[in-house]
Symmetry: C2
Subunit: 344 residues, 2 copies
């Protein structure tokens, strides 16, 4: 039995798309599972009605405040005690739900999770991970940290690698996930002080470390998990988005100039839709915030019903396969092996 | 009168494409200008013959050694004294040529230039700058540092901004070039310790600073000059290349599956070629290595004759408009204004 908590007020299309996604997911979940939506009761009930939902697997927990993207993360979490985000995280801490999903303010979700749930023992820096859709390759790639920690110590990258490997193993079913280090050269000696030291730690670990990966090769998914500091990860993530949008724009522009091109474009329409779909994050579910004591998933701010549905479905494996507990166990193993903490 | 020095042995397609590009440029240069190719005399003369070149504006300086991409930069520069790269840089130092262009080992070119020419007074870190072709926007964007310094102090980014602004003004003719700081958020308070401090320095400067730019917006050329540390810059540069290749690959793949798509693709062929051309660096000439006492341009390793020709043509403006001297003057102005050096 999995109880899924959903922030009904976070994201650009909340609560309309959020509720719609929840209703779609409710039809797919097992009978024992349930969804709990946190938010403005009137709005959410109205949307449930609009979706003609009358079942009892979706509950609503009424909250009166909303954290917006304009809110300062830490302040908002401290002041807006009755927001959907804070109440949801409290429910997770009190084990009234098993996982909490939000498309709201990323900073607020992360600092809220950190303040409310705390860190897994042995983890210094929880991190946000994004499953990037494959471009040239055939499998998605786990990018971590994709934005939680703008400054990192080398040992943080080892933690990210451990957490990412656990997730890819437990949730995506990959036997021995490969780990790559994002760097500016293939050789072990390349990079800045931080990446050079991180390389050594990763190389000495029991992880399936394959070495440095260069940005040029990222579209081919060179490893199951690629680690970097959150500054670099955020640049990669946002640039992927920006480039994909630019390419679509250019393509559309080129294909709508001239009669011959228009005819050609018409014939290609279905293929071009495929193309667009390749860069659609919503297919891959949310980004887990790993390292906190609880299952927290961040969805893209512009998530639609499909993204919400996919994230809910993905969250079941996250909870059932005990990702949080496994991360704890793996980190403890490393601490025991080295007979010291990673942060002396 | 401009005397252009060209590394005849550096790059994947040297000396064939290098010589071809030089011959093409020779036909376009003013009568008083000349080109000097450094390299294996026999090979270069053979290629000149193959191009049916018989003029006297291209000279050859015979060298016996070649620095390859496999060579360790500093060692190679120290040991291969008679390489085309080292001899060329020495000619630049001795003012026998006015600019030196190479498609060879980037690290060797940079450390060679640093060792041979030295830094412009007041410049702590010379940096490599790349002119990125516009994607959604209409004008190219100067990315700096794009890989010379994997670790940077905040004041280095101010230097990059000064040097980049001088280049865009003097060589590209932009009146008051806008400067943006690559960061992981739009607000002044976003980023890591380094970018936050760099933001303040840039904000207090007399440059046309427009604030932080996010990676998502880079394809729209949000500023004439965008500055960042060399690690980030290299990630952006290589990822641009990787994404462009991936998009072309996917597009080709999609467009060649099924009869209808093939017919459509045939009708679109010319437009798709345009598309490819947008990501062709060779149109924009080389990447200047700014901050050393001399005009040094790095071409992409895979440069073809067209890229060589364009870089040679661009180098004329670089020399004639006294970029090196202007950088010196601008940096001295800042030092005087603040009555201290930037690196206390």
């Amino acid at each position: 039995m999995i109880r899924i908590g959903l922030d009904g007020m976070g994201g650009d299309h909340a609560p309309v798309e959020t509720v719609k996604g929840a209703v779609e997911a409710a039809a797919l979940l097992r009978e024992e599972d349930s969804i709990c939506i946190f938010g403005d009761e009137e709005q959410i009930r109205r949307e449930l009605e609009n979706c003609e939902y009358s079942g009892d697997r979706i509950q609503v927990v009424a909250t009166t405040e909303v954290i917006t993207n304009e809110d300062s993360p830490v302040k908002a979490v401290r002041r807006k005690k009755d927001s959907s985000l804070v109440v949801g995280l409290n429910h997770l801490k009190e084990e009234k739900i098993d996982v909490f999903i939000s498309a709201g303010n990323t900073g607020a979700l992360m600092s809220g999770a950190l303040l409310t749930l705390g860190r897994i023992r042995g983890i210094d820096r929880p991190a946000l991970a994004t499953l990037l859709p494959p471009m040239k390759g055939t499998k998605p790639m786990f990018l971590m940290d994709s934005g939680a920690n703008s400054e990192c110590k080398p040992a943080n990258l080892l933690e990210f690698a451990v957490m990412g490997s656990v997730y890819m193993n437990k949730v995506m079913g990959i036997e021995s996930p490969t780990v790559g280090l994002i760097n500016i050269g293939a050789e072990a000696t390349k990079g800045n002080t931080m990446t050079k030291a991180a390389y050594e730690l990763l190389d000495q670990s029991n992880l399936n470390f394959i070495g440095n990966v260069e940005a040029r090769d990222l579209p081919e998914s060179p490893a199951d998990v690629v680690v970097c500091d959150g500054f670099t990860g955020n640049i990669v993530l946002k640039y992927t988005e920006g480039m994909a949008m630019a390419f679509m724009h250019i393509l559309k522009d080129k294909l709508s100039s001239g009669v011959q091109a228009k005819l050609g474009a018409a014939l290609l329409m279905s293929k071009l839709k495929d193309f667009k779909k390749m860069f659609d994050y919503s297919e891959y579910g949310g980004a887990p915030f790993l390292g906190v004591r609880g299952a927290v998933l961040k969805m893209h701010g512009s998530s639609n019903a499909n993204a919400v549905k996919n994230t809910i479905m993905k969250s079941v494996a996250y909870v059932e396969n005990e990702v949080v507990k496994t991360i704890h166990d793996e980190i403890m193993k490393i601490a025991e092996e080295t007979e010291e903490t990673l942060y002396d």
